[in-house]
């Protein structure tokens, strides 16, 4: 397939840019690094749109495929390709990678190293969504997580959370994040090895890490294997996706990270976890999914409510957004747990929508911090008069987050709860209570940051450079576009989601 070149380019453009910066960028001159990153960002964005719009939902299961032997003896190959699910994630990655590059222009310190790490993360994320080889997934997973440690530890900022007992220094948060992600990665690795070693027993001619081949395997023939492996794999991915109670790295990590990294963390890294749940846990072990997902539905609702309750208690803007991520990822888990098309479409839509919205919110939070030097809402107030652009965009982002019709969050939540009714009504009712809490913590935060009397101690100027305004406006436009015309996404993803659901229901 010739079209594979687009997917390859999508993966390699950030890597190439990182390499160019490493070799050619003179020390102390940020222009080259910025330019290279920007070019790769724009290229990736354009490619993601091309790939998304040229994906044929009625065509073969995996499109834009490239397959090259790498270690045939071990059944490892460089195999990439996308289906309707990853097409949506590719689009999300393309949008957010560019936004993250633009948000990074404010970085003044050690720009060269910063962009190298950032581009590596971007490449890792892009690779995770398009790889069809389990081994390479691990490689990309590590590529996306390890540079995070340096990005947060070196360019991050300390948490300003009054309610936390322990000081959340950025170095500490970075360490916590990397340990958690490595723990999840280790479990994923072990699980993948198990799949690899059992692939022959499951009916394949040879051991393989190739996802498409593993799809043909029947792991349910091996008694107990899906039953035992599914929860391990699900939780391993859940660590990355913010599954309660393995979420505590998330608020610290997201809050300590520099703006662009927070955007990528919440926007796409959490989605890697959720994507892994769909792609590897549910698709390869459908019988395990059928057995275990109802249990995870309960945890999902806990995620929704618990995250919202925690968010209500936070003082640091970034902590509020981070806990809202915990809450909103619960909607993804709940959607998955329903095992029907409405819930799954809702879950995928939420992955996309939350990625956009939370990146938007982190971007604005970053600007507020940059201009006022505080993120503590108790010290803020009355900013609407001084920073009207930020106020309007934050309110819009908040509204999208609390699921206002006309914005993407509503579609996602509505579809998920529609699906949840077909699965378990009580959980739907409990989950819907989260909507009230979400409205409460978001509007309270808006009020404390932007409304009320002028705060004379704050003297921000609302002067925005174009690279700050454009991505914010573009992200808002995205939530409106997909909120008003959700069919763009649902029509692409429908067939692929149906085939996974059929696997779980034991059809086809």
């Amino acid at each position: 397939m010739d079209r594979a070149i687009f997917l390859n380019a999508f993966l390699f453009s950030p890597l190439a840019a990182a390499l160019l910066i490493l070799i050619f960028c003179p020390k102390g001159n940020p222009v080259f690094a910025r330019a290279a990153a920007l070019v790769s960002g724009i290229l990736g964005f354009a490619l993601s749109i091309y790939i998304f719009t040229h994906y044929d939902p009625g065509g073969s299961q995996f499109q834009f495929q490239a397959n090259a032997n790498w270690l045939p003896a071990l059944g490892i190959g460089y195999h990439i390709g996308i289906d309707g699910i990853s097409a949506v994630m590719v689009l999300l990655t393309g949008i957010l990678n560019l936004a993250a590059v633009l948000a990074s222009f404010a970085i003044k310190d050690r720009v060269k190293e910063y962009f190298i790490f950032l581009l590596l993360v971007e490449a890792g994320v892009a690779g995770s969504f398009i790889t069809l080889d389990l081994f390479f997934f691990i490689v990309f997973y590590e590529l996306a997580s390890i540079p995070m440690y340096f990005l947060i530890g070196m360019w991050g900022s300390d948490g300003q959370q009054a309610s936390r007992k322990w000081a959340t220094k950025k170095e500490f948060s970075a360490l916590k994040l990397i340990l958690y992600l490595q723990l999840g990665g280790a479990f994923i690795l072990v699980s993948f090895f198990v799949l690899y070693f059992f692939s022959v027993k499951a009916g394949l001619p040879h051991r393989t890490f190739d996802f498409v081949e593993l799809l043909q395997a029947h792991f349910s023939r091996i008694p107990e294997l899906p039953k035992i492996l599914f929860p391990i794999l699900f939780i391993a991915f859940g660590i990355e996706a913010g599954l309660v109670p393995f979420h505590t790295w998330l608020p610290d990590g997201h809050s300590a990270a520099p703006t662009a990294v927070s955007m990528l963390l919440a926007g796409v890294l959490l989605k890697m976890g959720a994507y892994g749940m769909i792609r590897f846990a549910c698709e390869l072990l459908p019988s395990g999914a059928k057995l275990w997902l109802p249990l995870f539905a309960v945890i999902a609702v806990i995620n929704i409510l618990y995250g919202a309750y925690c968010a209500l208690k936070q003082y640091d803007i970034k902590y509020i957004i981070a806990y809202s991520s915990v809450s909103h990822m619960g909607i993804v888990f709940l959607g998955l747990a329903t095992q029907n098309i409405m819930g799954w479409t809702g879950a995928l839509f939420q992955m996309f929508s939350h990625g956009i919205i939370t990146a938007l919110l982190f971007m604005i939070a970053g600007t507020i911090y940059e201009k006022t030097h505080t993120r503590n809402i108790l010290q803020l107030g009355g900013l609407a008069a001084k920073m009207p652009f930020l106020a309007v965009t934050f309110v819009l982002g908040g509204l999208a987050s609390l699921g206002l019709p006309g914005m993407s969050g509503f579609v996602a939540e509505f579809l998920t709860f529609m699906g949840t009714f077909g699965f378990e009504r009580i959980l739907m009712v409990l989950g819907l209570l989260g909507l009230i809490l979400t409205a409460l913590y978001i509007l309270l935060a808006v009020r404390k940051i932007f409304f009320g009397a002028d705060n004379p101690s704050l003297n921000p100027e609302d002067a925005h450079a174009w690279w700050e305004k454009i991505p914010v406006a573009a992200l808002i436009a995205c939530t409106l576009l997909f909120g008003i015309l959700p069919g763009i996404i649902t029509s692409i993803s429908q067939n692929s989601l149906i085939s996974v659901i059929h696997l779980m229901k034991g059809i086809g």
């Binding site: 322990w166 098309i341 009355g382 579609v411 529609m418 077909g422 009320g452 009397a453 659901i501």
Partner: protein
């Protein structure tokens, strides 16, 4: 009927105004252009509504009306997978007598309010923004009005909530305004959750969100057991929130923090009308369940009553009006709740109430205009004797007061008293009690309205010399609305009195044909005289107590009156109750969650981390650096291995490999 397809434009025109203001005219500082755009496009929407209305009327008159006219577009389509019903979501409009007359009222009243706002908002730094929000508000309301399915209605519903949030908190620098805005949004959203549950449940039972399709189904067969009354009541939850019914009425009085034209819009044409409209729109769900109807009726009448009692003791003119809105909305719910017999009366009250309530609010704005430098310009303590200084405001205000209190010939006489009469003639359980409370509340209405009226315009107080009449741009809408407060009622004169046909009942009949209600054609002389009597009683009470200044202030010290006064002034302690609930289930649980997060989850992780560090510290001490010690340990280990191997342990371990 494709010629009516342009009805799509009705909500899109205000949206266009919103977009134009936001992206273009907002930047023309100090210019009135934004308001002109709003008014122009809103008027265009009004003209279109008139046209659609006229078309439907024509169809009815020629006997060609054969049911609602719909236009739909597909929005999301998900196939049926493994036995689960398919999801087919549409957006579309529905034209029938109910929706077109509502659209007509919304566009008409909102246009007048916008014209008034030119004068009221003059010089406000947020002038353009204000008109942008107002246009958006009207758009949301029109979406809700014209929608043909639950989903789009819900979308309009939430957008209405958003606009109320934006407009109530319009003067965001005032902390009280910012708080009231959140209260309005969160309280109504609490009701919306019920609405959402009800509508999702309904979809799973019927497979569609379309109103017309659902109304043609055999619902009693489809909805078994508790669903029969559960679904309408869940949907009613939404209406309780938006239409400020007990126990979710608490947000409306606080919503006074917004600019006065906003209050007029919220109280008359948009937000609160939405709830009543929703119940009317989904009436096919309510009529099949006596439990649902009875609940609606009782919530309505109870709300009407307690709101009237609270209105009696307010000193803020806008709060009096706010509680009177809550009370009147209660009447509308009562009308819907007593069964199809009260349906037309309730809708008629909704329409006429829009005229006189917007007039009252705009009048209050006009009254308060000269007092804008006071801390609270709406405090009636500042007023008194304003009749001479503001003759136009006085007369228009009088018309509205006469209309709402049910003075014969005025609009309320033919709408509100019809609701009360419907309660009397209804067949539902406890209708005598409903009627009695409603009648007593009518007395209270008359009393509190005239109390407010006398305190403001009459009395012995000599007004400040700087008090002046408002500009004509504000007075013109008042006068138009005053005319409608009088003649509005004449469209619904019951039973061909004076040879005038009951136009509204005839017009709504096709909507009600599903329920086979005979339109009553008799004149209810008993009800009418009783209505006049309670009006007069309330008027006299207020006259005696307030018309000549506060003559009987000591009455409040009476040991029998005092506790009641306390109860009413404390709003029946509903704010405290909700404050407690929010404290316990909101912030209380949030503190617990946060504690658990910090100490339990994060704490255990910290524990593991510190434990590892401690272990490392301890184990480190084994590494002493003495070679003899190491050699000794190696010697021991080898010895153990040898023993192990010799003793046959080899065989045991082999099983593992």
């Amino acid at each position: 009927m494709d010629s009516l397809k342009f009805a799509y434009l009705i909500p899109l025109l205000p949206l266009a105004a919103f977009l134009l203001i936001v992206f273009v005219t907002r930047f023309f500082k100090g210019s009135r252009i934004s308001s002109y755009i709003s008014i122009l496009l809103n008027t265009a929407a009004f003209v279109l509504s008139c046209f659609v209305f006229w078309k439907i009327l024509n169809l009815e008159n020629t006997g060609a009306y054969s049911g609602p006219i719909q236009f739909s577009l597909s929005w999301i389509h998900l196939h049926s997978v493994s036995g689960i019903i398919p999801l087919h979501l549409q957006i579309g409009i529905l034209l029938d007598p109910l929706s077109v007359i509502m659209a007509l009222m919304v566009t008409f009243v909102s246009t007048l309010i916008m014209i008034y706002s030119i004068g009221y908002m003059e010089g406000d730094p947020g002038f353009s923004t204000f008109f942008a929000y107002m246009s958006l508000f009207v758009m949301a309301m029109l979406i809700l009005t014209l929608s043909n399915n639950f989903l789009l209605t819900f979308a309009g519903w939430e957008l209405v909530g958003l606009c109320s949030y934006l407009l109530i908190g319009f003067w965001y620098k005032k902390p009280s305004a910012a708080k009231a805005a959140i209260k309005a949004f969160v309280v109504t959203r609490t009701g919306d959750v019920g609405f959402l549950i009800g509508m999702i449940t309904l979809y799973w039972k019927t497979g569609t969100f379309n109103f017309v399709q659902i109304s043609h189904l055999n619902l009693p067969a489809l909805l078994s057991g508790w669903l029969l009354w559960g679904i309408p009541l869940l949907i009613f939850c939404g209406a309780v929130g938006k239409s400020a019914q007990f126990p979710l009425h608490v947000w409306l009085p606080d919503a006074m923090e917004g600019p006065t034209p906003v209050s007029a819009l919220i109280h008359a044409a948009t937000m609160v009308a939405a709830g009543v409209y929703l119940v009317a729109r989904t009436y096919f769900l309510f009529v099949i369940s006596p439990i649902a109807l009875l609940t609606v009726a009782w919530i309505g009448v109870f709300t009407a009553f307690i709101a009237a009692t609270m209105a009696l003791v307010q000193w803020d003119i806008k709060r009096v009006l706010a509680y009177s809105t809550v009370s009147q909305l209660g009447y509308m719910m009562l009308g819907l709740g007593v069964g199809p017999i009260g349906f037309v009366a309730a809708i008629f009250l909704l329409l006429t109430h829009a005229f006189f309530k917007s007039l009252l609010f705009l009048g209050a704005g006009s009254v308060s205009h000269p007092f804008h430098e006071e801390e609270n310009p709406f405090d009636m303590h500042h007023y008194g004797g304003l009749k001479k200084k503001m003759p136009h405001t006085y007369w228009t205000f009088l018309f509205a007061t006469l209309a709402i209190t049910g003075c014969p010939l005025f609009a309320g006489f033919f709408s509100k008293d019809e609701v009360i009469a419907a309660a009397f003639h209804s067949q539902i359980l406890t209708h005598e009690a409903l009627w009695g409370i409603a009648l007593f509340t009518a007395f209270l209405t008359s009393a509190y309205m005239f109390r407010m009226f006398f305190l403001t315009f009459h009395g012995t107080k000599e007004p400040d010399p700087h008090v002046h009449e408002s500009p004509y741009v504000m007075l013109l809408p008042l006068m138009i609305l005053a005319v409608f407060s009088l003649i509005g009622g004449w469209f619904g004169i019951p039973g061909g009195l004076l040879g005038i046909p009951d136009w509204i009942a005839n017009f709504m009949t096709p909507y009600l044909h599903l329920y086979h209600v005979p339109v009553s054609h008799s004149v209810d002389w008993f009800g009418m005289s009783l209505g006049t009597l309670v009006f007069a009683a309330g008027f006299s009470t207020a006259w005696v107590l307030y018309a000549k200044g506060l003559r009987f202030a000591s009455i409040l010290k009476n040991p029998i009156i005092k506790p009641f006064h306390q109860l009413f002034a404390q709003k029946w302690y509903m704010d405290d109750l909700w404050g407690f609930i929010l404290g316990a289930f909101g912030f209380g649980l949030s503190s617990i969650a946060s504690w658990v997060d910090t100490n339990l989850f994060d704490g255990s992780v910290r524990g593991v981390g510190m434990g590892t560090g401690w272990l490392g510290l301890k184990i480190r001490s084994i590494q002493t650096g003495f070679v003899q010690q190491y050699a000794f340990i190696i010697y021991l280990a080898v010895l153990i291995l040898i023993i192990f191997v010799v003793s046959g342990g080899y065989l045991w371990t082999a099983r593992f490999f």
